[in-house]
């Protein structure tokens, strides 16, 4: 147990140590400053703007920015559908994968465009390498880029005065992808290949089992390049069905360490960038502290539950719950991953979430239900968190009778309406989705486990879909037309309703003038506020989900203990 704690502590130290410098770099990139990589990338960037024409230079207000985001996402959706349905006719298909069903293509396209990466299929058998490369890898990059772009559009609203200008979406997206995601992915992909993650255009290799001589096909593919960005961009969609538990995606303890850092590093860096961008590092610090407290609490909870709450079997040496876990990761690295992937809206797994102990599975579920704001998705996590900060400022302002202000901007009714849209959309869709599923006559047959654990399966999956996470209690049958369509619609709404609200919030904030800091200004950086923010986040989560949790994981826990 002590070794596990030391390892996890080491991980957190490395995470912060790498996250802070990346935060400085990302800040410079997104403010359009010259960085050291400009030497190689600036010519490429200029060329892209030239190809895009006049639109790459205009200033955008919220409406224009939103239209650009939606137009880009819509075409992305069409592109993924195109490759999935017609992959049988294209080259780059050594294993002869055929076009998928319409509902699966619909679901997967939305899933990757919305940075969810929910997967109702197993990549190695269902998709051709060409589809993985030209459709899915590309979306891993750009969906993360869109999140980062929208975040900075909002932040421009905070720092500008009497202006509706939120920046230019095409430039924001290009810079986020070109300067931040692409170089980092390249480095990580090469580290992963060195560890044994496959990266090849060849078809499956024929092998013959040692004991029986039976022929077995070993699947290859361009996995390393896709996995690097799937972790960095908080995407999470695996190249192979078993995701990062599969040895060809995550072969060693070192590869696991690198991938787990990659899951959290961009969200951590963005919080630092936020502090720099609004010229008040302390504001970033508040958010960083709250996120870390929630992450560490969750980590302790999951690790303890997996270690001490594991079942005891007769004649078996009890040392924690290893069902669904790989020996090379054990309890420690599996618990850390489970917490990271649900905190950061990543959704990849290195151990099967369905096979966690009842409480060990409940905590990741709750992290998602908080709205994917504890670090959260690339960009989207932080703008969600800022919505919670505004809510806290508003509540605190009401309590002490002051006008709510944040970063020198008065928070008024329109702003609060947008905040409510951001905060309430995910829980409503989680609960409504679960309800529709439960009412379907076949729902019980689709679950992989019986009883309370089966209910947890369903609740987990809808929490994942309705927060753009993408991980699953994968015992449930997910590739059904009903769930593909329902899940697709949920992912779509939960991505673009809050995103649009955030852009209009940004514009509305930008229109206002700055209010000078005075005696009467409520501090948003001291201990009281930090504690208050933590309380508001937990309260909203608990109020929304405690009753339904009682039917799932909590019941599961009491039945079996």
């Amino acid at each position: 147990m002590s070794a596990i704690l030391i390892n996890q502590l080491l991980f957190l130290v490395v995470l912060i140590g790498l996250g802070i410098p990346l935060g400085f770099y990302t800040y410079q990139v997104m403010s359009g400053k010259h960085v050291w990589t400009s030497a190689f990338l600036a010519p490429l960037e200029k060329m892209i703007y030239r190809l895009l024409g006049k639109q790459a230079k205009v200033e955008m207000n919220a409406k224009k920015y939103t239209f650009s985001v939606l137009a880009f996402s819509f075409l992305s959706f069409i592109a993924v559908m195109f490759f999935m349905l017609l992959q049988g006719y294209f080259p780059g298909n050594p294993n002869g994968a055929e076009g998928t069903s319409l509902s699966l293509a619909f679901n997967t396209a939305i899933s990757f465009v919305t940075n969810t990466n929910w997967q109702a299929y197993a990549g190695e058998t269902t998709l051709s390498p060409l589809t993985q490369m030209l459709a899915l890898t590309v979306q891993n990059f750009v969906s993360a880029g869109v999140g980062i772009a929208v975040l900075f559009a909002l932040l421009r609203g905070f720092i500008s005065k009497n202006s509706r200008n939120l920046g230019n979406f095409w430039q924001d997206l290009t810079r986020a992808v070109l300067y931040v995601l692409l170089p980092l992915s390249l480095v990580i992909a090469l580290i992963l290949v060195s560890q044994g993650v496959v990266q090849s255009f060849g078809g499956a290799v024929e092998t013959y089992l040692l004991e029986t001589g039976e022929k077995v096909l070993v699947p290859l593919g361009t996995a390393a390049s896709q996995i690097a960005i799937k972790q960095l961009g908080t995407n999470g969609g695996g190249y192979f069905g078993a995701n990062s538990a599969f040895p060809f995606e995550n072969p060693t303890v070192f590869s696991n360490f690198v991938e787990n850092i990659a899951i959290l590093i961009i969200p951590v860096a963005l919080i630092v960038s936020f502090g720099l961008f609004v010229k008040e590092m302390k504001q970033g610090r508040t958010i960083l502290i709250v996120s870390f407290i929630l992450l560490v609490l969750a980590l302790i909870g999951v690790t303890m539950s997996e270690y001490y709450m594991a079942p005891h079997f007769t004649d078996v040496l009890a040392n924690g719950n290893l069902e669904g876990k790989e020996v090379r990761f054990g309890i420690g690295w599996s618990s850390l991953w489970a917490v990271s992937t649900t905190a950061a809206s990543n959704g990849s797994v290195n151990a099967m979430m369905d096979s966690f102990t009842p409480l060990g599975g409940m905590i990741p579920m709750f992290l998602m239900q908080l709205g994917e704001i504890v670090f959260g998705g690339a960009g989207s996590g932080l703008y969600g968190m800022i919505a919670f900060v505004l809510l806290t400022v508003f509540i605190a302002g009401l309590l002490v009778g002051r006008t709510p202000e944040y970063l020198g901007k008065k928070i008024e009714p329109f702003d609060m309406k947008m905040v409510c849209l951001v905060i309430l959309t995910p829980p409503i869709l989680t609960l409504v989705g679960s309800m529709i599923f439960t009412l379907h006559p076949d729902s019980a047959a689709w679950l992989g486990n019986s009883g309370a654990h089966g209910f947890s399966e369903m609740l987990y999956n809808f929490s994942s879909l309705a927060n753009n996470n993408g991980s699953a209690f994968a015992g449930m049958e997910t590739n059904t037309t009903f769930l593909n369509v329902l899940g697709g619609c949920i992912m779509l709404l939960v991505r673009f309703i809050p995103m649009t609200a955030i852009l209009f919030l940004g514009e509305n904030l930008g229109k206002k003038k700055m209010v000078a800091v005075s005696e009467g200004t409520l501090s948003t950086t001291n201990g009281t506020f930090t504690f208050m923010l933590l309380g508001v986040i937990l309260l909203i989560g608990a109020l929304s989900f405690l009753p339904v949790m009682g039917l799932g994981p909590i019941a599961d826990f009491f039945i079996h203990s």
Partner: protein, 188 residues
Amino acid sequence: MKAFIKENLQPAFRLLLIMTLICGLGYTLLVTGMGQLFFYQQANGSIVTVSAADGSKKNVGSQLLGQPFTESQYLIGRPVGTASQLSPVGKEQEDLVAQRVAFFKALDPTNQQAIPMDLVTQSGSGVDPEISLEAAQYQVARIAKERQISQEAVEKVIQDHTSGKLFGTIGESRVNVLGVNIALDELE
């Protein structure tokens, strides 16, 4: 409508095309090229080959993928199959573990030690290539007896295929099952 297409869809289409070329094609080709050049073995599945008596070579699998072993002269790894999705505290799981315990007991009735957890639980990938050092040691006596070699010889082979901990602390000591079994076959 025409203005909307020109102002939004046209740049969106162009940027998506550019990104597909850079991030889909260029990036993937670059990583594949460098991977094939510098890490040929790893990039192509870490395939293990053994030479037969007549000198011909045969792929027996990947070092990174577990494969089923059931005979008692082999080191037996974790159950092979699809990824486990069972609740660890459910009835289905309890029955499966009892079956696996019975299998190991039947294979070696003289062994009275408790069975390490990893041997009787399904892994996340279903093809976990490794077992814990304890799980390997649990099987030493049986393998030695079946192959009529000394326990020390078996332990030596296991030791050769045990990965140490990264930086001396990270992770657990683990044994590569396929590696051990190939080496055991080569002893004879």
